[in-house]
Amino acid sequence: MRKGRVLFCIFLIAVATYAIRSALGWSFKTKLFPLSVSIPLLVLATIQLLQLIFGKGETDEGAGLDLDFSSDVPAEVARRRVINTFSWIIAFIVSVYLIGFPLTVPLFIFFYLKFQSEVSWLYTIAATAITWGFFYTLFQWLVHIQFESGAIQTWLGW
């Protein structure tokens, strides 16, 4: 966890440094605000990093006014589930890129329910059909949202 905290501080320092370096070449009006926020960000992130490295150490408590992740699940299982969920999200985006939104919706619901949640065939098929129907009725038929064609459809000239 400590290594992760250090890496997050380094990420913030890198962002602030990039912002300062980029802003230095701009006109006064353009750079005034970005510099006014990125310089203190760099200072605060550096202080936090130094405290982490040389300080007394930090507790695992979350932020005061924010969500705290569940700590009931073993760390290894939690890590696996986090990677798993992010993989599903990335797969969703890749699928939207390849075959477009309207086709991704039923496929995603079907595969997630069947293979991730291990739901019965009946529920999976029913939920997929209802979701697809809802999606088509609301977003395509009523609201007329224009979804981009997928790369495969474009390549095939559909």
Binding site: G4, S38, L41, F69, V82, F92
Partner: protein, 503 residues
């Protein structure tokens, strides 16, 4: 003024606005019950759907949803000890022990009725504040509004964590949000900033993909990690008995409910404090109101007063939070920051215009808060038994539908796949923020207020040079900001001194 008040009512009662309010309430109802999804996240999800609505319809939809989520959030807090919303956590302390004692119906009746009274008091406070706030707002120019926005971020950062480290993290996140808001074309000169040669970034980052990523993704991940039903294995109980008793309790302790509602309104007005603080202050006040130490011992073991206080404050703070949001454009919480983006989408600029030109829209918000809560409480009281079953749905069954909603919502911002990538990137950053204890509300506040703050700063500098720093109200606000920042340190030092004295 009275005409605008009545016009506001008619705006809400128009069939389209009223229907949209009911739709919003239905969504808020479910969201409040589902612990995996927060009210702020749902507001962010619903923002894309307001583009084709009129302002009165959009606010009936959004506020109807938001105010109801705060009310129904108490239901899972009582039944399973799982807060339906982050702002319902204090209700767990006495509500869940009451449920374990077989008094779930009484606790729910008390929570719902105190929520209704709190919401009505909050709505009245909002209506009463409008004539008082109006002359004050009209004396505020760009320098004062700039300082107010800065104070808003200072308040939320100072409460984001305990001690110096908490403040450093809070301020860093606020600054990061401000920095992210500068991506894209600069308004005054038209120069591009941090565009990295990507055309998508020329217009800057849209509110929706960023907010949806920041709020929804970590909550979905948490739901997936837990791997259980969203509310755990809760007991099946008959809830109807005792509901009337809880309603009577609300009126037996009416003055406690009233005082806690006032606390909620005041905390709501303070930018950055929000419901998380209001509920605990109200709970603390309920405990302080105990007659003696023996009476005080009942709290935490299932005392109905411990449910009444937070329930009232949670809902009254909605009206309170709307006061600075509408009058100054300084949102009182993360949810209000998202609502503020709704104002901007509707082409409404919070500030003097909302208290003059668009006064009837402002009053329509008052009416929405009142009407939505009355309908919700009446509905809740009739279907309590069925409500509890929703929270036993397995997380794995819910996640794909929520993910779908997240990505459809973010895609509608610009209709580009880049919107989805932005959501993923900010979802990942947000996940690490939560994991390593970096608060998200200051980031959101910084991101939403960034463009407004830069504009106010630019106008102040162009018009007054550095002399705006000597304006009396600006000086007062700077002092206030210093107090806000320094106070947690003083409090920490005092606690340490008291602790060592006791030892």
């Amino acid at each position: 003024m009275f005409d605008a008040f009545i016009d506001g009512l008619f705006l809400v009662l128009q069939w389209k606005a009223f229907s949209l309010m009911l739709v919003g309430m239905g969504l808020g109802f479910c969201v409040g019950l589902l612990p995996g999804i927060g009210g702020a996240a749902t507001l962010a999800l619903m923002i894309p759907f307001i583009f084709k609505m009129s302002p009165a319809e959009a606010f009936a939809f959004l506020l109807g949803m938001h105010s109801v989520a705060a009310t129904t959030g108490d239901i899972t807090s009582v039944l399973f000890g799982v807060p339906g919303e982050a702002i319902s956590a204090a209700t767990v302390v006495d509500g869940y022990p009451m449920a374990k004692k077989g008094e779930a119906g009484r606790a729910l009746g008390a929570a719902l009725m105190s929520s209704l009274l709190g919401a009505l008091i909050g709505a009245v406070a909002l209506a009463l504040a409008i004539p008082i706030v109006r002359p004050l707002v009209l004396t505020f120019g760009s320098p004062e509004l700039f300082m107010l926005s800065v104070i808003g971020i200072s308040c939320i950062t100072s409460l984001s964590g305990a001690g110096a480290r908490g403040q450093i993290k809070g301020f860093a996140m606020g600054l990061l949000g401000l920095l992210v808001s500068t991506i894209g074309q600069e308004r005054q000169s038209g120069s591009l900033r941090f565009d990295m040669g990507i055309m998508y970034l020329w217009e800057g980052l849209d509110f929706v993909p960023v907010l949806v990523g920041i709020f929804a993704i970590p909550e979905i991940i948490d739901l997936a990690v837990r791997g259980t039903s969203i509310a755990g294995e809760g007991p099946a109980q008959n809830l109807r008995s005792g509901v009337m008793e809880g309603i009577k309790d609300t009126f037996r302790h009416f003055w406690l409910v009233f005082r806690c509602s006032v606390i909620g309104v005041f905390v709501g007005i303070m930018p950055g404090a929000g419901g998380g603080v209001a509920q605990w202050m109200a709970y603390a006040h309920s405990v302080q109101s105990a007659k003696d130490s023996k009476d005080r011992e009942r709290f935490g073991k299932g005392d109905v007063r411990g449910v009444l206080g937070p329930g009232a404050a949670n809902n009254s703070k909605e009206g309170g939070e709307l006061i600075p949001t509408v009058a100054f454009g300084v949102p009182g919480s993360g949810a209000m920051a998202i609502l503020l983006s709704g104002f901007l989408i509707m082409g409404l600029v919070p500030g003097p215009d909302m208290l003059t030109k668009h006064l009837s829209i402002t009053f329509s918000m008052v009416w929405t808060l009142a009407i939505a809560n009355i309908i919700t409480v009446l509905l809740c009281l009739t279907v309590l038994d069925q409500l509890a079953k929703i929270t036993n749905v397995r997380g794995g069954w819910i996640i794909p539908f929520v993910l779908l909603l997240v990505f459809v919502g973010s895609y509608t911002a610009n209709g580009q796949i880049a919107d989805l990538i932005v959501t993923l990137i900010f979802g990942m950053i947000s996940y690490f923020m939560v994991l390593f204890g970096w608060p998200r509300p200051p980031f959101v506040l910084g991101f939403v207020l960034g463009k407004v703050i830069e504009t106010y700063l630019f106008i102040s500098m162009s018009r007054y040079g550095f002399t705006w720093l000597k304006h009396p109200i600006v000086v007062l606000l700077i002092v206030l900001m210093v107090v806000v920042i320094v106070y947690p340190y003083i409090q920490q030092r005092r606690d340490r001194a008291a602790g060592s004295a006791n030892a």
